[in-house]
């Protein structure tokens, strides 16, 4: 059954998507599935390992499950300092 997931895009992903946040209906099982499903939005050709993901404000892994009602934050490669 399709899940309703809130997705937030940051930095270049937000610029590519043209939007900071949206709700999507998805059949994705994991955060990695969702990232692949939304490639047309975030536009990333980066290997998944270069990007990061957080679910409900906790850093997570790409193989973590996504559930109905989750907020998934998609982070491009970080560059602090």
């Amino acid at each position: 059954m399709s899940k309703s997931i809130t997705v937030r895009y940051f930095a270049l992903f937000r610029e590519n998507a043209g939007i900071g946040e949206e709700r999507v209906d998805s059949d994705a099982q994991t955060a990695g599935d969702l990232f692949a499903e939304l490639k047309h939005r975030h536009g990333s050709g980066e290997p998944l390992g270069h990007c990061k993901v957080a679910i409900n404000d906790e850093m997570s892994d790409w193989d973590a499950p996504v559930k109905d009602g989750d907020t998934v934050l998609l982070f491009p490669p970080v560059a602090g300092g």
Binding site: A11, L12, H42, G43, M59, L73, V78, A79, G80
Partner: protein, 141 residues
């Protein structure tokens, strides 16, 4: 750990780490430089996701404390538009002896750079701009 859009004042931050048990204090300041990877840089723009940056920053400072027991440590990272020469990140550590202060300071800045959700966009003298470390993100061209 603090994320701030206000100018960093290293002297004020340093005073907060004063401790009579401390025989050493080490700090690191990251400054905005005028060149990166062959481009002449005009200014930088930092973006952070504060909620997680502060939480993860606290975790990595705690890790540093377990590895190199210091007395006090703090880190501040800027957001917003920064001009050349401005301080983008500050780390300070006080400890009984210098070894812990040097090592903890190094650990904290290295981890901040690779773990925290912070991004920087370089604005170049030629009018172009680009997100650092994101050369393959822009599939839309």
């Amino acid at each position: 750990m603090q994320i701030s859009s206000a100018r960093i004042d290293p002297d004020a931050l340093r005073r907060e780490l004063f401790d009579h048990a401390a025989g050493a204090y080490v700090s690191f300041e990251g400054w905005i430089r005028n060149r990166n990877e062959g481009h002449d840089v005009l200014r930088l723009e930092y973006e952070a996701y504060d909620v997680i940056a502060v939480k993860e920053g606290g975790k990595l400072i705690a890790e540093a404390h377990r590895k190199f027991p210091f007395l006090q440590a703090h880190c501040v990272h800027r957001t917003g538009l920064l001009e050349l020469g401005e301080c983008a990140v500050w780390v300070g550590v006080s400890s009984a002896h210098r070894d812990e202060a040097f090592q903890a300071c190094r650990y904290i800045i290295d981890q901040v750079k690779v773990r925290l959700p912070i991004w920087k966009k370089e604005h170049y003298v030629d009018g172009h701009s680009g997100w650092v470390n994101c050369e393959r993100c822009a599939a839309h061209g």
